[in-house]
């Protein structure tokens, strides 16, 4: 089963839920797709086994073959190519690696060249494996790294994916193909606002989902009212508790020091399994 842990709003507790869930069940592969700021490894203290660079392909223009006809620039929807009377400029940060410019070039002057945008880290923490992506500083596009992380997916395992926050391309790429999505929210107006947007996206994508309310006890009842109206299951509530926050701040997954939570996360996982089968 592939379960993605996501939320519209940042800082609701995605990584806490993903890590505690991963530690509570067996045979787990955890994929941290929050490649702009991966942090699951900060709670797992794993052994780093190896790293691999991630590249995208960008056009390379052979200026000797190029006659500056401008067909490539005209074709590129992202304006990554500029044709001047005596050369063609490539703007790598705008390129989406579609390869179209190579196809349309009448002089066959364009080939692909590698553009390094980040890396994959392969880790192990006891019987759990973790793969996390890391986007290089200054690189604007996280989706190719997310794809690279997901390529490492081992479907013989219980796959848990930690998603980046938000509801745009990085989230969509992360949750695509999941059997279930756990939406972590907090019972505040901000949490509710972003939860609603995420629900709209997941309904379009036809990925089943349920809600985990974190910091239960703060804010108001509106998240609960909304879930009831929309018939969205609330799978778990994690209370707003000093001990949980303290353990978090020390980089300790709270289920390890509060063993009653291991059972709660196991129940969460089996409940998800039942919802997926429905």
């Amino acid at each position: 089963m592939i379960v993605t842990v996501a939320s519209g709003k940042g800082g609701t507790g995605k990584t806490s839920v993903a890590v505690n869930l991963a530690l509570s069940i067996e045979n787990v592969q955890l994929l941290d797709c929050d490649v702009e700021e991966p942090n699951a490894h900060l709670f797992l203290h794993p052994e780093l086994l190896k790293t691999e660079p991630v590249y995208t392909f960008i056009p390379f223009v052979n200026q000797e073959l190029c006659d500056h006809c401008g067909v490539c620039s005209k074709f590129c929807q992202y304006h990554a190519l500029f044709t001047s009377p005596n050369n063609v400029l490539v703007f790598p940060e705008l390129c989406h690696s579609c390869g179209g410019c190579m196809i349309v070039c009448p002089k066959k002057a364009i080939t692909e060249t590698k553009n390094r945008i980040g890396k994959l880290n392969f880790c192990a923490a006891e019987d759990l494996t973790l793969v996390y992506g890391e986007l290089e500083i200054g690189k604007p596009m996280s989706v190719p790294i997310i794809k690279a992380v997901k390529k490492q997916m081992d479907k013989s395992k219980n796959v848990i994916i930690d998603s980046p926050p938000g509801t745009s391309c990085p989230f969509i790429e992360t949750v695509r193909g999941s059997d279930f999505c756990v939406l972590v929210t907090e019972p505040t107006p901000f949490g509710l606002h972003d939860l609603k947007i995420t629900v709209q996206v997941l309904r379009k994508m036809i990925v089943p989902f349920g809600v985990v309310v974190n910091r239960a006890g703060v804010g108001d009842n509106k998240v609960y009212e909304y879930c009831q109206q929309e018939n969205i299951p609330i799978l778990l509530e994690i209370p707003y508790q000093r001990k949980i926050a303290e353990l978090y701040s020390r980089g300790i997954p709270f289920s390890q020091e509060m063993p009653e939570w291991t059972e709660k996360f196991q129940t969460l996982y089996s409940d998800i399994g039942k919802l997926v089968k429905k």
Binding site: S73, Y78, H79, T83, S84, P85, N87, L89, F91, L94
Partner: protein
């Protein structure tokens, strides 16, 4: 010589639009005859790469000079590669700007004057 001025409407009396990549119109003026052509800027609402797309349109029109308010890094790079002279900080009408340029009142800009995405309005972001 063709001079391209970024403008808020497509006339010679139009006010200068201070953004290069996301201006409404390019008014391309022949400095000898003061004849002009108004070209709507297709990049004004682009989700990204507006500066490059706009620079491409200006280069394709054969302009040798751009008179505008500000220019971002990608547009600056592209226009420079095409050998187009850039003058920033220009205001007033298109006609006034071209006349001032002809009198030699302007100095060429040597670097981008704003950062990435400076011309994107808040609602578009």
């Amino acid at each position: 010589m063709k001079i391209c001025v970024t403008a808020s409407t497509g006339t010679i009396d139009a006010q200068i639009d201070p953004r290069f990549g996301r201006c409404a119109y390019f008014v391309v003026v022949d400095s000898e005859t003061m004849q002009f052509e108004a070209v709507p800027n297709l990049a004004s609402g682009a989700s990204g790469g507006a500066g490059i797309q706009a620079a491409q349109a200006v280069a394709n029109k054969g302009a040798k000079v751009v008179l505008t308010g500000d220019v971002g890094p990608n547009a600056f790079h592209a226009l420079s590669a095409a050998g187009i002279e850039i003058v920033t900080g220009v205001s007033g009408s298109v006609k006034e700007a071209v006349e001032k340029f002809k009198r030699g009142d302007f100095k060429k800009t040597g670097a981008p004057t704003v950062g990435d995405h400076a011309g994107v309005s808040k609602t578009q972001r």
